[in-house]
């Protein structure tokens, strides 16, 4: 406790940011957000990852043979599909596939705790790939290319569901977008962010965004109610499937969702659980109003957005 006293008062309003200011900001933010470790981007058995990639991009795994994992988690769109919803009947915005290896819960309502389980569900879910495991296993077993790859990785054991899931999950774990400019800043490269961006970061801290958007993923490790201060009523879909209530059934969990990661936020629009907000500025404004109960200036929003854009990491090769 004692935060109130411990947090130092910061100098305000300077157009330019002094180097030592940057250092102070960096020190403060470093205690809250850790950079994505660069080396994990290349970890994992290459053969297993290659096999996972093949499965990840294989539309035959879906019930209608029309979509693959990749169809909604497009690497060129920050690991999302760039659409409000993946399917018209499923009003949930697709989260990014990047950096999921650092996640401890999946889906907006965190109903799944491991990547393997998420993969399993994604394959069979009627609103996702609508596949059938028996068919998928049979397909993989009868495909000569898969046979070769599976034999290389798993030996001569018959191909099973665990192997397929393991391969997909391994590939997904390799999808780390490290080395964003913000990460470099966190690692000590103070020039990685310009003045506006540092100021934006300061605002991010000052306004209290950092209270929820913290940790390595800048979010994801807790649930928060959308509309903590000012109730959020724009979304009609929230109560359906997206909130934590749909998992626990506890009244407290109504309208609580997993705090989304802000990594790659600039390229993963449209925003919010229902993809109802196309622009980053708008969602920042919504966050200010409903989560903070404040009205930001245009320049504040502008600078925060600038800062948010430094969170775009370098996608894996």
């Amino acid at each position: 406790m004692g935060l109130l006293l411990a947090v130092p008062m910061l100098a305000v309003g300077a157009a330019t940011v002094a180097w030592n200011d940057k250092l102070v900001v960096k020190d403060e933010i470093s205690r809250v957000i850790s950079p994505i470790p660069d080396h994990v981007a290349v970890s994992g058995d290459p053969a297993l990852v290659a096999l996972g990639k093949r499965l990840f991009t294989d539309t035959r795994l879906s019930g209608q043979q029309d979509v693959a994992c990749e169809s909604c988690h497009r690497l060129d769109l920050g690991g999302t599909d760039g659409k409000p919803y993946a399917r018209p009947e499923y009003h949930i915005n697709t989260p990014s596939i990047f950096n999921v290896r650092f996640y401890d819960r999946f889906y907006w309502n965190g109903r799944v705790r491991s990547l393997e389980e998420q993969t399993d569900r994604a394959i069979v879910s009627s609103v996702e790939m609508a596949g059938d495991w028996d068919r998928v296993i049979n397909l993989v077993r009868t495909d000569p290319a898969y046979n070769t790859l599976f034999t290389t990785v798993f030996g001569t054991d018959p191909i099973d569901k665990e192997q397929i899931i393991g391969a997909i999950a391994a590939y997904e774990r390799s999808l780390v977008s490290a080395n964003s400019r913000f990460d470099r800043f966190l690692s000590g490269d103070l020039d990685a962010l310009d003045n506006d961006e540092v100021n934006g970061l300061k605002l991010f801290l000052d306004y209290g965004c950092i209270a929820c958007h913290q940790g390595m993923n800048i979010g994801t490790n807790l649930y928060q109610k959308l509309g903590v201060i000012v109730p959020y009523t724009d979304s009609d879909a929230m109560t359906d499937v997206a909130d934590r209530y749909s998992v626990t059934g506890r009244p407290e969990d109504v309208q609580r969702v997993r705090v989304p990661s802000l990594r790659n936020i600039a390229i993963t629009g449209p925003y919010l659980h229902d993809g109802s907000v196309p622009k980053l500025e708008n969602v920042v404004e919504i966050m200010f109003r409903h989560q903070l109960g404040r009205v930001p200036t245009r320049s504040d929003i502008h600078m925060i957005v600038k800062f948010l854009k430094t969170l775009t990491g370098r996608p894996p090769a």
Binding site: G2, L3, A6, Y207, A211, G215, M216, L222, Q224, R294
Partner: protein, 982 residues
Amino acid sequence: MTPGGVNDRMKRVLAASTLLIVTLLALVYVQVTDRQDRAIETRFMENVNLVKRLNEAIAYDVMALDTGEQLNYDRLSHDQSELFRISSTMRRDIFAVLSENGSTDIKSQLALIHQSEIRLESVLEDYKTQHAILRNSQRFLSSRAARNALTTGEIGEIDNEWYMLVSDFINDLFAYNFNLSPSIREHMLNEIHIWRDKFLPDVSRYGDRLELLRHLELVIEDLPVVKDLRNEILQLTQFPYEHLERLYLKQRESVMQHWEVMSQVFFWLTLFFAVCVLLALYLLYRNMHRLTGVLSELRNQKFALDQHSIVSIADLEGNITYANDRFVEGSGYSREELLNANHNLLNSGMHSKEYFSNLWNTVLAGKVWQGEICNRSKQGELFWCNSTIVPFLDDKGKPYQFIAIRTDITARKTIEENLIQAKERAQVILDSVGDAVISIDRDLNIDYMNPVAERLAGLELEDAQARGNLLALFDIIDERERKPESYRISNCIEKGHREILSTHMLLNRLDGREFSVEIIIAPTHDSQHAITGAVLAMHDMTEIRGMARKISHQANHDALTGLSNRNEFERILRALLHKSVEEGVDHVLCFIDLDHFKVVNDTCGHVSGDELLRQLAEILRSQIRDRDLLARIGGDEFAVLLGECPMERAEEIAKNICRRVKEFRFAWEDKVFQIGASIGLAAINADSVDAVTVMRHADTACYMAKDKGRNGYYIYRENDEELSQRSGEMQWITRLTRALDENLFELHVQKAISLTGNPDYYEVLIRMRQEDGELVSPMAFIPAAERHGLMQDIDRWVINQVLKNNVHWQREKCVVSINVSGASLSDPNLADFVICALRQYQVSAHQICFEITETAAIANLGNAVTFINKLKDAGCLFALDDFGSGLSSFGYLKQLPVDFLKIDGVFVRDMVEDEIDSAMVESINHIGHVMGLKTIAEFVESEMILEKVREIGVDYAQGYGVAEIKPLLPEGSVPNPKRLLI
């Protein structure tokens, strides 16, 4: 030890082994399960510790978040995830180990843990949510905005009051943070509401202050919530896992004890069964050892059987399932061919179907069949086997296969067959032999008699055997002294020597009949060479002795006429000569040669000739005295020896013979022949040298008689000039040689006129001029010349003469044809002689033609063809003479490359009257033309014939009707005989 015993023991070993394996597997299972359980136990214990530590870590994280030591939820979230992951593993492990038999205590404990964890998760999430909100508000209070809310605005009453308020708030909040007193909370919230109401009407002015108030309110409201959540977390993380641990270990202990007991039980069971197996194996080994001995003995017995016999095994259909080496060897088939083949592969076809059906019925009834079977090998050889077929019976006594053991008895069968054949042969011989054969034993009892012996003895074999002793059938006596000789048979048997009683033996039958016999007595032996008796072979000489006389007569007499033959005649002649020399008595020898006998023989055949000779013999016999000897010494030659007869008397007899023969008319069928006899007489007296000379004299005289005109006689006299000059053939040699030497031959030609526009054809003919100037026809001298080898010389003379005198004919552009004899055709030098002469006299070869007879050519076909080809190459022509009357083979005609075909005059002469002859001429002509030859018809003796010949299309006509024979050389140009010598 029976195989059944072994089987039982084997079963026992198997049963013990099975039990051993089962207990061993159970033991292993217990051990493995135990080990797995221990591994799970270890992990469980580790996980419990981990869970405890994670609970502690979560408690710490929460405290750290509370104090601001941790500024994000990463650690907490991580520990949280780990806790739930490991906890669920832990729970799963317990279930895996305990499954259903876990105690209710543990289950309820596990449920408790699960409940607690679910609660913990909810609380943790709530904590984070609330904590974030609280932190946000706290942060606001320390932010620039909060300061703005304090500092900005008008200075006045409200401001002072506001400033004081904020200052109080900070103090109250500080106090509230330590002690969540509801009174402070109520007080602060009251104040906030009062002030908010004051600021709300002017939001634009007091925005900052309203915000500050709101955040203050949030902090105040949230702070106790967060603290409550924190406390609950701290409490939940204090969960007493030790209890679970204790329960688990207790449960495990009982399980382990259970496994321990099981393990012990299975260990001892395994040990027990292992001992059982070893024991059973030992017993089995002992039995096997004994069985090996039995087996080896059986193998030896099988080997012996295989060595001795042909062995095969067949199934119920007769298909071979086993064949030993001897079987393979004997059958000639390979083992592969035999196996699965049916036994009837070897069927020889020597046995009837019934034979085999009997065999099958026997063995299918489970009985042993024995018999001899003839088989046929692959190579088709038959071999006999003495076969024993034994069915193998199953438990129900039904046969399921057969073993056939055979011994090859082919050799024995062959011997048997040979014996039967030998016996048969002997029987046939004995039945058909002319001698009487009787077999007797040592006591002369009859064993066997052949049919001749039966006839000789006048008894059937059975009757003879009934009488027993040989001497009860007949006696054997010497025909001269009529004393018994039977003892010699017994003697012969005693001595064991073969004996022949050849002369004067008489078989005296009991009925009194006697037979002269020749007896061969041969003792018989058994296989040990002991004498068992004898075989008597008796030849009935009764007839033979009569025959002997007959043969002696035949040797000296002519079978046809019954007269003495030449042998007898010569013997008697010699005897007479001897007598004549010794006693000085004169005799006369007559040779009688029949004239015209050949005509009869040739026209009416030998039968008529023989009859004529028989009749003539009678005539001759009637003309001589009884003491005279008439003999037939050759085909138509008879001789008479007139003993003690003066020549005058002999002349008279000869004269009579001639007359009688001349008067005799021989009629045969519708023909009547007149025969003549030429008789030569020669005296036999003391001056006669020997029989040969006398006979030659008579022969010469006979020739003279013939020469002087037939049917006469001539008496040989010493120094008779006429006789010596003209005696026989000798004369012809002399005359022909002289004719050649002195150019007494003359050449003539007869022209054959061409009817189809060919060059004229002249045939050269030879004549011999006698001393008296008379011409002798070639018919007279050519046979003699041929007999004495003078033809070649004559031919060369003719050729030379013709070519030499070419000036007289060459310019006419005609063909000059020369006859060549068969002898000349064989002369290898004649062709060269001709070619030399052609060159010497510069004669164009194509004007020279050689006529050869078909007969001569065929007799020397090889030489003739060589001769013809050689001269044809030189350009000469050839004509085939007398075609149609000889062999008339058109086949030969093809082989002889002649240019002219001379149709035999025999057909031409009568062709006007005889249609057949006409047809012959026509066909020969036709064939000649087909072969590209010119045809010449001989003997064209009239205009009518000429017309006919012309009509047929013959190329040339030759004969008196066409052209006379003229001398080759013109009159006056006859060469000086002496200078014409070659």
